[in-house]
């Protein structure tokens, strides 16, 4: 365990050099003072429902500070995995452990340290917001001044002051999600598991929720599941794509983007018709595609090559009338579709 801490510190140290000083200090403080260093270890986790395999042999570990985005099509097993991580579902086989605690034997201890927002934010509708949060805090073992202070903290954090005495059933979806978040945060958990936290929210509310997640995640583990691909690049620092119960991709959102054919591709638009035949011949350009509707020209690089400079040189040399020049990050939709469908068709062939 000691060696692990040291490793984390040096890792933090390496980050330090890349960051402005004030940020660097914050990172260092958090890395050394984090009292738990909770680590989730999942081994060969499987879950079957009536002969149907929802989660199939998942193995991964998650370290503090990681904001993991679970991506996957509907019914891929994201929610089932999360339910097993929270101890609500018992795995058919395999194990979930946090630090040295095993979910199968010490679920209560683990659950103390987890905050969970179930899919669709189910809440006790007949209670008022304050009653509900108070109830959760009490069951979580908070009392007296600590409880008061924690309640005030989460209520401020998700801005529920105006609806405290309203019944939950009267409130809109946005409020319900925020109450669900408040409920998950009230005991200041090390691990936060949010099943589709932004589902059904308007863009402003989505933004708020993302800001909230980003703000609290420095020393915690946050796991969110989502359908929204931009959310992963906006909030997460690790992406796991699950399809048909299997882990199909595990890496940073940037790595996911790199898988896209569009990664580092250059898209151009011309003010008027120009000779573009030379563009396809530029060193490193793999292919040129012209969109007939918009007139956009997209140049795809050969894998691993950067073509931006060469393209710029070409444009200035031939004085091409470019009025729009975009370097693409990568189109996640394509990658997502590729990752989640490609192997399933392979599976069908082998079956």
């Amino acid at each position: 365990m000691k060696s692990l801490n040291v490793a984390l510190l040096t890792e933090g140290g390496m980050v330090l050099s890349l960051l402005p000083p004030h940020k660097a200090i914050r990172y260092r403080i958090i890395n050394t003072s984090s009292k738990w260093n909770a680590m989730i270890a999942v081994e060969n986790l499987s879950r079957r429902f009536h002969g149907l395999t929802a989660v199939d042999d998942l193995t991964f570990t998650i370290k503090p500070g990681e904001i993991v985005g679970f991506l996957g099509p509907n019914g891929a097993g994201k929610s089932t995995t999360m339910k097993m991580l929270t101890g609500f579902l018992t795995p058919s086989s395999g194990s979930v452990s946090i630090d040295d605690l095993s979910m199968s034997t010490q679920a209560k201890k683990i659950q103390q340290r987890i905050g969970y927002l179930p899919e669709g934010a189910p809440l006790y509708n007949d209670m008022t917001v304050f009653q509900f949060l108070h109830f959760i805090a009490t069951v979580r073992g908070l009392k007296g001044a600590t409880r008061r202070q924690r309640l005030k903290h989460v209520i401020d954090k998700v801005a529920l002051q105006d609806v405290l005495n309203r019944r939950i059933e009267e409130l809109s979806k946005g409020f319900r999600h925020r109450i669900g978040l408040a409920q998950a945060l009230v005991h200041d958990p090390d691990i936060l598991i949010l099943d589709e936290p932004t589902d059904g929210l308007d863009p402003n509310q989505k933004h708020q929720v993302r800001e909230l997640i980003r703000a609290l995640s420095k020393e915690k583990i946050v796991i969110i599941s989502t359908h929204i691909l931009e959310e992963v690049t906006a909030v997460c620092n690790r992406t796991m794509i699950i399809a048909e119960g299997k882990l199909r991709f595990d890496g940073t959102p940037a790595e996911l983007q790199q898988r896209s054919r569009y990664h580092q591709a250059v898209t151009l638009h011309f003010s008027y018709a120009a000779d573009i035949s030379g563009l396809a011949e530029i060193e490193g350009v793999d292919e040129m595609v012209v969109d007939r509707h918009s007139g956009d020209v997209t140049l795809f690089p050969e894998p691993g090559k950067l073509i931006m400079t060469a393209v710029v040189e070409h444009i200035s040399h031939f004085r091409l009338p470019v009025d729009k020049f975009t370097i693409e990050d990568g189109r996640l939709e394509d990658v997502f579709r590729e990752i989640t469908t490609q192997e399933s068709t392979q599976g069908e062939v082998t079956e």
């Binding site: 987890i114 969970y116 899919e119 189910p122």
Partner: protein, 244 residues
């Protein structure tokens, strides 16, 4: 234990946040008085006791308690809040007992609200108040048994109507097993031991002595045992539900 009380308090509060508790309390009061005065011939008997009042309790409970307890787990499952509850650091046992306590408290409340009847008897004559207290306790214990069965059945389904009907039938089994008609069916072929066993399973048999003021240990133990067994079964069912 504190968690158990927190759950009980929440449950108790939610009965009053919705009309359920008010409806139950008023129907219980109205029906128990109607039965006592009109069917039970409270005045014509010319006796200062509450026997006509208590003798209808098994039948009142048979209808009202399942109606009142059907939502305890069924609604929790339907609304998905069971996921919230079970991911809190609460054991299944604590949750089951908490819910039971809340409901049992409301039964106690309903019984307490019938004290005017008790006062009436005292005004009219000289009843044996010890008998009445014993009968109240007996009725509350029996109500707890009905409740434990209904709560257990409620955990089996997410549909409250199904929970209600099944609970009524299950409770009815425990009530009618003390009936002469039912026992006659057994008399033709079974030995006395079996008949006695069947009869001793009945709430009626045990409540009968209690409503006459005899708080015998075996009756109390019987009801407590029924409550424990059904609540234990309930916790197993709730636990199984999340595995399935």
């Amino acid at each position: 234990m504190r968690r158990c009380f927190a759950i009980a308090r929440r449950e108790f509060g939610s009965f009053f946040a919705t009309p359920v508790a008010y409806v139950y309390l008023s129907i219980f009061l109205v029906l128990s008085s109607v039965l006592t005065f009109f069917v039970g011939d409270f005045y014509h008997r010319g006796q200062a006791d509450l026997l006509p009042y208590f003798s209808f309790h098994p039948w009142l409970y048979l209808l009202l308690v399942p109606a009142f307890a059907m939502r305890t787990w069924a609604e929790e499952r339907k609304a998905g809040t069971i996921e919230l509850l079970m991911s809190l650091p609460v054991s299944v046992g604590e949750a089951v007992v908490g819910k039971f306590l809340a409901c049992w408290l409301i039964l106690a409340l309903a019984l307490m609200m019938t004290t005017p009847l008790w006062l009436t008897v005292n005004y009219l004559g000289n009843p044996d108040n010890g008998v009445i207290v014993a009968a109240y306790i007996g009725s509350w214990l029996m109500g707890g048994a009905f409740l434990a069965i209904s709560i257990c059945v409620s955990a089996l389904t997410r549909n409250q109507v199904v929970a209600f009907i099944v609970a009524v039938i299950m409770c009815a089994v425990f009530v009618v097993s003390g009936f002469e008609m039912v026992l006659d069916i057994f008399r033709s072929w079974a030995s006395n031991t079996i008949i006695d066993t069947v009869a001793s399973l009945s709430f009626l048999t045990h409540f009968d002595t209690m409503s006459r003021g005899v708080l015998a240990a075996d009756d109390i133990v019987y009801f407590l045992l029924v409550i424990t067994v059904w609540l234990y079964a309930c916790s197993i069912i709730v636990d199984e539900n999340r595995a399935a």
